[in-house]
């Protein structure tokens, strides 16, 4: 075990009061300075200049298989390989890419997925075999446990969707070879996620890699003659195209239909959130909101829809993860547009493919913090989840309360910049209180989290006096966050035991500007 012999890690205390490593995977880091405090300098990264003379004039970039493509891309030890999660747990291409690399005898790769999924558990074997050195990307399930136990050679680096774009754009991560699984593509490399038997909707997560990686491989199971319309990925950025029988298991790519929660308590939470938007006047003609595919978020959309109809108001735009419920809003004229980051169910996929008002967005347009603005901050309200929130409204989505890595950040951090950020969460799960004194791992600073809605009451951040005033006289159960916490502690038999962790970092959580917000420690 590396624990015994590992040199003492140099740590610095950041503006969130957290001890964070000053060097991560060989790169110097800036500790988190506070919201909006870090000023980036310099120019964006750029891929190498290429010439048409090295590409076929007829535009046919096909090669027989993934291994050939990787060899032609010059795959060698220590490179950074990227994959994407638009096929979610149904993806087979990420694993095939790394396994092909293993077959070629390559070692010490950095794997840079936009997110990992349980079906990618065999990556553990590739880390054990030395093919993969470490992962920078979300890790949950078996991969999360592997990292939490300190078995990975490098640090895990957890970034938001916007933070991943920022890291690539700012040159913090240089992708050597990007492998993009495409539900439909042409021989030139134009690709779309909207069509084909493995249709998944938006390919936005792969867009940065297609623009900034040295080499780009498109893998598809639905090759169409040029042109592939619409091209979410531009063939002009693509080096090679590989045709395979299947890029994934359609049943795990999108759900047939996403399900509203059936839990009475969670339905109550959803109802409170919708009611909160109505009472505060956030729900008004021309407003905008974002809600994901979680059970509570879906139920919230359903309640809000009824309220919008009753009040005769419609939204200018809504942001997904799109689902049947957002599509229904669009089709009923209750929103002018869906700006879609990823597509969760078949209704969403069909709508994106056919309705011009259902538009695919990317982490650049939606989430990137090092740009000239983004959509997430223009949203009036966003409904998010969290594993924990503390009495100072800081949120955690990456670790369990016992310190184990739980899941990735997704767009969560980026969404905190909306006009009204609402965490819609049960007050406890399996006896584990959700409102804690201090979050196990800070993923979002409390100053950006405005409202915590639980089944036992709604806590408004004292920084948002405007929201507190707007709810005065309403029937909503507005309570101080400490009050709700106290009730739940009484219910659960006191606060839980503290997590048992060592002083050895296993992963870091990046803030949206690339600074280091917190550290995930090896479990004891």
């Amino acid at each position: 075990m590396p624990t015994a012999t590992a040199p003492k890690v140099e740590l610095a205390r950041n503006a969130a009061g957290k001890q964070v490593p000053v060097e991560v995977n060989g790169h110097q880091q800036t500790p988190y300075l506070g919201v909006g405090q870090y000023e980036p300098t310099g120019r964006k990264a750029a891929p190498l200049i290429r010439s048409n003379k090295n590409y076929p004039e007829n535009g046919d970039k096909r090669v027989p298989d993934l291994e050939t493509a990787l060899r032609l891309c010059g795959l060698r030890d220590g490179m950074t390989i990227s994959n994407h999660h638009h096929l979610r747990d149904g993806d087979v291409i990420a694993l095939q890419s790394l396994q092909a690399a293993a077959k070629m005898g390559v070692h010490d790769l950095m794997w840079f997925p936009s997110a990992s999924f349980p079906s990618q558990k065999p990556v553990i074997d590739l880390m054990e075999a030395g093919v993969v050195h470490h992962i920078e990307g979300s890790m949950n399930g078996p991969l999360g446990d592997y990292c939490s136990q300190g078995k990975m050679r490098g640090y895990g680096v957890l970034r938001s969707h916007g933070g991943r774009w920022q890291a690539i754009q700012d040159g913090e991560v240089h992708v050597d070879i990007a492998i993009i699984a495409a539900p439909t593509a042409d021989p030139f490399g134009n690709a779309t996620g909207s069509l084909g038997k493995s249709a998944c909707g938006s390919l936005g997560f792969a867009l940065a890699d297609s623009m900034y990686a040295d080499r780009v491989i498109v893998v598809t199971d639905n090759l169409v003659p040029f042109p592939c319309i619409p091209w979410q990925i531009q063939g002009n950025n693509v080096d090679y195209v590989v045709e395979v029988p299947s890029i994934g298991d359609p049943s795990k790519i999108v759900s047939g239909t996403t399900q509203i929660t059936r839990s009475p308590d969670r339905l109550l939470i959803a109802k409170y959130v919708a009611e909160f938007l109505r009472v505060t006047g956030i729900m008004r003609d021309g407003f905008s909101f974002q809600a994901g595919a979680g059970g509570i978020a879906l139920a919230f959309v359903d309640y809000l829809r009824a309220m919008m109809k009753e009040a005769g108001v419609k939204a200018r735009f809504v942001r997904g993860g799109s689902t049947k419920y957002l599509v229904e809003l669009l089709n009923e004229g209750l929103t002018d547009y869906i700006l879609d980051g990823q597509t969760f169910d078949l209704d969403g996929v069909r709508s994106l493919a056919t309705n011009p008002r259902h538009v695919a967005s990317s982490p650049f347009t939606s989430y990137n913090y090092h740009g000239k603005g983004n959509f997430a901050s223009m949203i009036d309200a966003v409904v998010l989840g969290a594993t924990e929130v503390d009495v100072n409204f800081n949120g955690n989505v990456v670790t369990h309360s016992d310190g184990r890595l739980l899941h990735g950040i997704g767009g969560w951090q980026n969404c905190l910049f909306s006009g009204c950020t609402i965490l819609a969460i049960p007050s406890f799960r399996d006896r584990i209180p959700v409102i804690v004194d201090e979050v196990t791992t800070i993923t979002g600073p409390g100053e950006l989290i405005d409202v915590v809605v639980t089944e036992r009451g709604i806590a408004i951040n004292p920084l948002r006096q405007d929201l507190i005033d707007a709810t005065k006289g309403s029937k909503l159960p507005i309570r101080p966050i400490q009050d709700v916490q106290k009730e739940v502690f009484a219910l659960c038999g006191g606060p839980p035991q503290k997590p048992s962790v060592t002083d050895r970092p296993v992963a870091v959580v990046k803030w949206v500007d690339g600074t280091v917000l917190d550290t995930v420690w090896q479990l004891a």
């Binding site: 109550l268 016992d402 799960r429 399996d430 584990i432 089944e455 009484a490 038999g493 035991q497 048992s500």
Partner: protein, 424 residues
């Protein structure tokens, strides 16, 4: 009880599992379990108690919240065993995130099963408020909570029913009656049911008498008597409640709501309503009633029209509330609303609900309409005006208002006020 004597369970309903040869004592040890565990189980636990003659207390714990509450669960388990006087035993706990009042109930139930139902009660600290309820309070909705399913208890009040029912009868399997009784008792001590009236549905007599012994000391507001057919049954329950109250030096009323679920019960409705002064409402169980008649229960309910009107009449004759049955299709909110509106028109003042989603619809259905309220308010104002002027006749515009109309308006306004429907 450190003698190691293994009392065989007296009641046939107790679950006994064949045990393997103990490694520490060379005799056949039996194990006794209570509660549930498994992947799909939430907020419960299975406690398996194995008495032995030596070796002290050994706790074996598997819990999905072990890293958060493992120490707490062990400490609580030791404490419960100690309070029950257990010196030597193996206790296996398979925990699915049970809250402390559940943990205590499950361990107590397992030990009592080992001791043939006997054994000291372990009463967790009483943290729940004990509001007393009024005879004629609003009883529009009563939310059924299966007495064997602790996961629904702690959030029930958040959904705003007028009452919750901790059910020991039909929702509890016969083999789980003893354990559920203990669980419900602990819930009455520890769970904050807010402003809900706290009801318990006991089993039919004589099993219901054992329920009363366990729960009455926790002062529920109201006891539901299932399948009541005669006034004598009500009297027997009232007598038992009085006895337990006397033993525990308790004061304050505990109301009764008999459930009529048979042709005979309906025939005796008035006598049942008048059987004891603590009876505050009559209600009807339509599944059993239609089964008794041998007819099919329909959505519009013509087969039970006679029984329901008869019940309303008997209740009103006795000066108590008439409460309707439940509506079984939790997905059909339009059907529920229609049922509730018809029910209100017949004279019922509320009904049961089996899902929190039904509560708001029921409250709406039993609420007087705005035109009704407005008209009643005008009549009441005219009545008060006449009273002030010392007039015997109440008139509104050119119309004279009869006393029964005034009476109805007064009742309606009082009810609307209780539902916060009158803008003052």
């Amino acid at each position: 009880m450190g003698t190691g004597a293994l009392a065989r369970p007296a009641a046939a309903t107790l679950r006994v599992e064949e045990a393997e040869m103990s490694t520490t004592i060379a005799e056949l040890a039996a194990t006794y379990s209570a509660g549930r565990s498994g992947k799909d189980v939430r907020s419960d636990q299975k406690a398996t108690f194995t008495p032995r003659t030596s070796g002290g207390i050994e706790i074996e714990l598997a819990s999905r919240v072990a890293s958060y509450y493992g120490d707490s669960i062990r400490a609580q388990a030791v404490e419960v065993l100690k309070q029950m006087g257990v010196v030597d035993a193996h206790l296996k706990i398979e925990d699915e995130g049970a809250l402390p009042f559940v943990i205590s109930a499950r361990i107590e139930a397992a030990v009592r099963r080992a001791w043939g139902g006997k054994g000291k009660r372990v009463l967790p600290e009483r943290t729940a408020k004990q509001p007393s309820s009024q005879r004629d309070r609003l009883r529009r909705s009563r939310l059924y909570l299966p007495g064997a399913e602790p996961k629904y208890f702690v959030s029930a009040a958040l959904h705003g029913p007028d009452a919750i029912i901790l059910d020991l009868e039909d929702s509890v399997h016969p083999s789980e009656k003893d354990a559920s009784r203990i669980l419900v008792r602990n819930a009455l001590r520890c769970v904050d049911f807010g402003s809900c009236e706290r009801m318990v549905r006991i089993n039919q007599l004589p099993l219901g008498l054992a329920d009363l012994e366990e729960v009455i000391p926790e002062h529920p507001d109201l006891i539901l008597l299932p399948k009541t057919e005669t006034a004598e049954q009500v009297v027997e329950v009232a007598r038992k409640i009085a006895e337990v109250k006397r033993l525990n030096a308790m004061s304050g009323p505990i109301w009764l709501m008999p459930i009529l679920e048979s042709a005979l019960g309906i025939e005796n409705a008035f006598a049942i309503a008048k059987a004891d002064e603590s009876v505050v409402a009559l209600t009807i169980g339509l599944e059993d009633y239609t089964a008794d008649l041998g007819v099919v229960k329909t959505l519009e309910g013509s087969e039970s029209l006679y029984a329901r009107t008869r019940l309303v009449n008997a209740a009103k004759a006795a000066g108590i509330q008439a409460i309707d049955s439940v509506f079984g299709d939790v997905g059909d909110m339009a059907g529920l609303r229609a049922w509730g509106e018809r029910s209100r028109a017949m004279g019922f003042e509320g009904m049961g609900c089996i899902h929190p989603g039904q509560i708001a619809v029921i409250h709406d259905a039993y609420a007087p309409t705005q035109p009704e309220i407005d008209k009643a308010l005008k009549i009441v104002a005219a009545y008060e005006d006449a009273q002030q002027k010392g007039l015997g006749v109440v008139s509104l515009g050119s119309k004279m208002i009869d006393p029964p109309v005034v009476n109805r308006a007064l009742k309606l306004v009082a009810r609307a006020r209780a539902m916060n429907l009158v803008k003052e």
